[in-house]
Symmetry: C2
Subunit: 364 residues, 2 copies
C-alpha cells in the first residue's frame, strides 16, 4: 500500500475550520485501505508569527521539504496589519512557494451547475464554464530585486518593485499550460502586457517559440492582460487554459473565480518540477482567503479545501479514484440542496462547516 | 468669447471614424457662439510610424504642448505587431502622457440606464452603477527603469520591468481621488498589493496620510487589488471612487468598463497639474481601443469619443452647459432606440457611426 507524508498548514482565520474537515476526509481515505497518509500539522501565517515571530518556522519549512505534499488553509487578517513586512502572514506562504519551487499554480475556475444562479454573471454566460488558469508562481514582481523603500529626506520616499522573468521560467510554465490544454479544450490564451512591459515582450516571444517547437497542435492566442480582464466578464466561456505571470495571474484568477459564482468551492494546486521518480513538490489550497469576518463562527464553506485535498490525492498520491469519489460526493450534497452561507440559495438548506463536512462524508 | 486650441489625434483603426463625428460636434459648439475652438489634426500611433517612422512626430508633440487640450481616438493594430519596441503605436500615447505629465487618468464606469440589459452582469448589480476609477498614469511599471531585455547566452534572456513610486506621485493622485469623492459619494477605495509589493506598502501609507491630514471627512477603504478585481464582479455598486496605480488601473478600469455593459460609451480624461491660471494639460479619449476587426466599416460606436469631447468642454474649456447638452443628446438618442452594433438590442434600430453622429447632432 502506498504511503505518503502530508503536511497540514491550516493557517489563520477560517483556515483552521476548513482544515478540520479535511482531516476527517484523510481518515476516510486511510480507511479505504487504498492508501496510508501520515499527517503532521504546523503553523503558518499570523499564528506562526504570534508563536515564533516568523510567518513560518524553520522546523515547519523542513517538514514541508520532507513531506510528499502540503495542504494549506489560508493566511492573514487585520490582526497582523502592523507586523514588519518580512514577517507578515503572506511571507510564510511566499517562502513556501519559493523554497519548494512551486512554479506552476493551477487555478480552475469552474461553475458548479447547481450554483450557476449564484454568479453575478448571467446564467447563460457561466453555465458549464470550465477555465484553467495557469499562473507562474515563483517569479515576476513577487520576488524580483530590488524590492525596497528608500527614504529620500524631505518627507519623500521612493518604493521599488522589480518584475523579472528569464526564458526558462516562461518555457516551463508554458509547457505546463500546453500539456493541460491537450487534455482539455486544446486552447491556450497567453496573457501579458507586451505593449508596455519588456517582461511581456519576452513572455510573448518564449510562449510563441515553445508553441511552435513542441505544441503546434494546440491552438494559441495572445491576449493583452487588460483585455483578458474584460473578456473574463464579457464572455468567459471563450477561454480554456489561460497562462500568465504571477501578478496578472493573481488578479485574473480571482476575477475568474468570482465570475463562476463558486468562489467558496474552488481548489488550487501549486506544483514544482518532477524529479527522476516523477515526484514533484506540491501544495494544495483553496482559492479563497482567510475571511476574518466570519472566522471562528463555524460558517465557512469547507468545499474548496476538500476539493483541494481531492486534487492532492489525484496529482500527488496517484489516487484518481478516491479523488473522483470525493468530487462526486461534493456534487451530491449540492444536489441534495445543502449550502453554506456563501452560496445560500432560496429553496436550499443553509448549513455550517461541520454539517457540510458531515454530509460529504456521509455521501462517501 | 473664450477661444481654445484643440489638437485632434484620431490615430489608428476606428479612431479616425469616431473622431470624424467629433469634428462635427466641434462645428456645432463653435456655432453656438459660446466658444471658439480652433483645431489642428496630426498623426499618432501606427499611422504616424508609417509616415514618420515614429509613433508620434516631434512636430505633433510641439503642437500638443501648445494646445489647450488634446483629443485622442485610439492607437495600435496587428499591422504594427512587428515594429521595434520604442516605435510601436503605444509609444506615442505613452510619450504624450509622460511629456505632458498627465498623471491623473479619470475613467468613469457608468451604466447607461438604456443599456443595463447589455451588461454580462445581472441587471440589479449594474443598474445605476457609477464608479470613477482614478488611475495614476505617469509612474509605476510603465515608465520605471531599468526596463530591458538582456541576452544571457545559451538561448536564455532576462527581461526586467521596474515599478517605481515616489511619495509625491501618490500624494497628488490621492488628492485628485479625494477631491472627486467629495463631489460624488464621498467614498474612496485605494487598491494595491501591499502584501506583496513595496510600492503597495508606500501607496497605502501615503494615501492613509493624505486622508488623515486633509480629507478625513471622506470615507477611505484600503482594498487589495486582487480582491478589488473580485468585488468589481460580485457587487460593483459598493464602489464610488477607486484610486490605484498605473498597471492595476489599466486592468481594473477595463474590467469595470466591461461590467457596465457600456464599454463603447465610456469617455476618459487624463489631466496634469494646474498652472497659476488654473489651466492644466489634458487629453481626452474613449476607454475602448482601436478595434481593428471593425475598422473602416463605419460601424464603430462614436459615443465614447463624443462623450470625451463633452468632458473636454467641461474640464478644459469651462463650458459645462455645452457638455450637459451633448450628454443629454446622447441619452436622448439612446432613448429613441438607436444603437450601434456593439450595443445592438432587440427592439432597437442598429445604426452606423455616421448615423449615430447625425442623430446626436439632430438632437442638439
Ligand atoms: C496572500 C497573497 C500573498 C496571495 C498572492 O498574492 O499570491 C494570494 O492573493 C493568492 O492569490 O494566493
Ligand atoms: C494602449 C495601452 C498602452 C494603454 C495602456 O496600457 O495604458 C491602454 O490599454 C489604456 O488603458 O489606455
Amino acid at each position: 500500500m502506498a504511503s505518503f507524508k502530508l503536511l497540514l498548514l491550516p493557517g489563520d482565520g477560517i483556515g483552521t475550520e476548513v482544515m478540520d474537515e479535511v482531516t476527517r476526509l484523510i481518515e476516510w481515505a486511510n480507511g479505504t485501505g487504498a492508501i496510508s497518509i501520515e499527517t503532521e500539522t504546523d503553523l503558518i501565517g499570523g499564528c506562526a508569527y504570534d508563536e515564533h515571530g516568523e510567518a513560518i518556522s524553520e522546523a515547519a519549512m523542513q517538514t514541508a521539504h520532507a513531506a510528499d505534499a502540503v495542504m494549506l488553509g489560508a493566511v492573514g487578517g487585520p490582526k497582523w496589519d502592523g507586523v514588519p513586512y518580512d514577517k507578515r502572514p503572506e511571507a510564510g506562504l511566499l517562502r513556501l512557494r519559493k523554497d519548494l519551487q512551486l512554479f506552476a499554480n493551477l487555478r480552475p475556475a469552474i461553475c458548479y451547475p447547481a450554483l450557476a444562479e449564484a454568479s453575478s454573471l448571467k446564467r447563460e454566460l457561466v453555465e458549464g464554464l470550465d477555465i484553467m488558469i495557469v499562473r507562474e508562481l515563483t517569479g515576476g514582481v513577487y520576488f524580483g530585486e530590488p524590492k525596497e523603500i528608500t527614504d529620500l529626506g524631505n518627507g519623500q520616499k521612493r518604493a521599488v518593485d522589480t518584475q523579472v522573468y528569464e526564458t526558462y521560467e516562461i518555457e516551463r510554465i508554458a509547457a505546463v499550460a500546453f500539456d493541460l490544454a491537450r487534455k482539455r479544450g486544446n486552447l491556450v490564451h497567453s496573457a501579458e502586457k507586451r505593449n508596455v512591459m519588456k517582461t511581456g515582450v519576452l513572455w510573448n516571444e518564449v510562449v510563441t517559440k515553445v508553441h511552435k517547437d513542441s505544441y503546434s497542435d494546440v491552438k494559441l492566442e495572445h491576449i493583452l492582460a487588460d483585455n483578458c480582464a474584460m473578456q473574463l466578464v464579457r464572455a468567459p466561456k471563450q477561454f480554456d487554459v489561460i497562462v500568465t505571470d504571477n501578478l496578472f495571474g493573481d488578479v485574473l484568477s480571482d476575477e475568474a473565480a468570482m465570475a463562476t459564482g463558486s468562489l467558496g468551492m474552488l481548489p488550487s494546486a501549486s506544483l514544482g518540477a518532477a524529479d527522476e521518480n516523477g515526484m514533484r513538490p506540491a501544495m494544495y489550497e483553496p482559492v479563497h482567503g482567510s475571511a476574518p469576518d466570519i472566522a471562528g463562527q463555524g460558517k465557512a464553506n469547507p468545499i474548496a479545501t476538500i476539493a483541494s485535498f481531492a486534487m492532492c490525492l489525484r496529482y500527488s498520491f496517484d489516487q484518481g479514484e478516491l479523488a473522483d469519489k470525493i468530487e462526486a460526493a461534493i456534487a451530491n450534497v449540492l444536489d441534495q440542496g445543502l449550502r453554506t452561507g456563501d452560496i445560500a440559495q432560496k429553496g436550499c438548506k443553509t448549513v455550517g462547516t461541520r454539517e457540510m463536512g458531515d454530509a460529504i462524508i456521509a455521501s462517501l
